[in-house]
């Protein structure tokens, strides 16, 4: 159940320059795709909590993977093992499992963060998973070996060709989306998500994407985090109706 937690930090590791993995000492019954609202400072400066996806979870463990981009994530990165973290969660929707035996999972940059737990969940459910991992450069393909170990088929793409194919990850994933009778999952920058959604729609695959928005409350109360619903004069909240949406619901394909 959704709750306010004070969790002990057991590990804070840099996994690449500017990227941290934070391990907390207790699980919060989170599912793949859900997120937590982290309080980066005990004061109201910065004013709002920071949303971070659940990277991995177990009964005794909650793991976050994040990129340091501004003040909040810098404060989070400065926290050390032994200190505690105030967080709200688990929040939002999760990636649904379908009756398909195969899955295509597409990650762009730090969008890989929630997909690790998804890969574990899919693997446990006995699915055949093709994972496509895209980043700007090799250094930003975080935790490659750990992701590779969870996938049945694993491919990489970088913008500069420093690892895997020099290609857009969506071009790399397109043949799999076209040929496999699979459910498609994606998290990453919005142009990437739109392209994955377009491909999935074209080939008639069901597709789930995880979206980002500026949040305030994270619990559905402020109505600040909305995205337009396809074809309707209506909005849905990223924090409770999402962050995972059926692609057809939020994108014009």
């Amino acid at each position: 159940m959704l709750k306010l937690h004070t969790l002990k930090i057991i590990k804070q590791e840099p996994v690449a320059p500017g990227y941290q993995r934070l391990t907390l000492a207790r699980g919060i019954a989170a599912q793949a795709g859900q997120f937590v609202q982290v309080r980066a400072s005990e004061t109201f400066d910065p004013f709002l909590r920071r949303p971070i996806s659940v990277h991995d979870a177990a009964e005794d463990r909650l793991v976050l993977l994040y990129r340091t981009v501004g003040r909040g994530t810098a404060l989070l990165a400065a926290k050390k093992a032994g200190e505690t973290l105030d967080l709200l969660g688990p929040l939002g929707s999760s990636f649904p499992l379908t009756d398909r035996a195969q899955a295509v999972v597409v990650a762009g940059g730090i969008g890989a963060a929630p997909l690790y737990y998804l890969l574990r969940t899919l693997k446990r459910a006995g699915k055949q998973v093709s994972f496509f991992y895209g980043a700007r450069t090799e250094a930003e393909l975080l935790l490659r070996e750990e992701y590779r170990a969870l996938a049945t088929n694993y491919s990489e793409a970088t913008d500069d060709g420093s690892a895997g194919s020099r290609a857009l990850v969506t071009d790399l994933a397109a043949p799999a989306i076209a040929s496999l009778d699979a459910t498609v999952y994606a998290c990453g920058p919005s142009p990437m998500l739109k392209e994955v959604a377009r491909l999935a729609d074209y080939y008639g695959r069901s597709c789930f994407v995880s979206l980002e928005a500026q949040l305030a409350c994270g619990v559905g109360a402020c109505l600040g985090c909305v995205v337009p619903v396809r074809g309707q004069e209506k909005y849905r909240r990223v924090c409770v109706d999402g962050p995972v949406f059926a692609a057809g619901e939020v994108f014009f394909c």
């Binding site: 500026q214 305030a216 619990v219 109360a221 985090c225």
Partner: protein
Amino acid sequence: MTVKIAGLSLANPVMPASGCFGYGEEYAPFFDLSRLGAVVVKGTTAEPCAGNPPPRLAETTGGMLNAIGLQNPGAAAAREKIVALQQWSVPVIVNVSGHSAAQYRAVIEVLDDLSALAAYEINISCPNVKAGGMAFGTDPAVVAALVRELRCATKKPLIIKLSPNVTDVTAIARAAAEGGADALSLINTLLGMAIDIERRRPVLANLTGGLSGPAIKPVALRMVWQVTSAVEIPVIGMGGITNARDAIEFLMAGASAVAIGAANFTNPLVCPETVEGIRSYLAENGFASVREIVGLAKKEWQK
């Protein structure tokens, strides 16, 4: 801890501010809502309202901008949510918004028979609705006429919520009091904006939004002081409250009760914690009731 406002008896002087607590259900997992003095629900309009396109939020130094644009399910659908709040046996105050006097009246007509509804808070100050809201809040004659009209539409208490985006807030406050308001609440958000220098364009799709949070507290406190000096009716003070100390400042400035808005987002327990903080302050300083500290700073100032 009890206070009387607009004929309502509240168990304590702390309530969440409109638009920052949904219809209560989002915060019910965190604490027992009956610990609140009252619940103020989201701005409700006669018809369902989709709200503004995103982005609707921007974080700022010491606060945030919002341009929600009054997204709400409309008065008819709000009925159920208001009734559901009855389980907490806490007074429910419904924030009413509209673009015309007729629209405000339409909301009251749909909701007035609900016994769960303790009072209306009439939002004449929303900065995010292009056609309406603010126009009402900035002209004393229009305010007096609107309040008079709504006064005839209901027997329930009317709390008029004032905009800070005016030259002289006391003129509006007097007009609302003359029109027959039972109480006032202030302040609503201050009109502001933000620009994303990477994208080289305004952050909010609405261009402007309402500023709330700690950054606005000094402005809010000054206005509460001025308004409580200008009118006899009680005032619910709000704007940037994040803890009991802030709340006590508002009470000492003359507010009879306080509302907490954006701070709920960061600390979902801010309301009950503020209630407890005020309780300890009163006990530690030998005050028998909240009433004893209402306007206390004014009395000291006048000595």
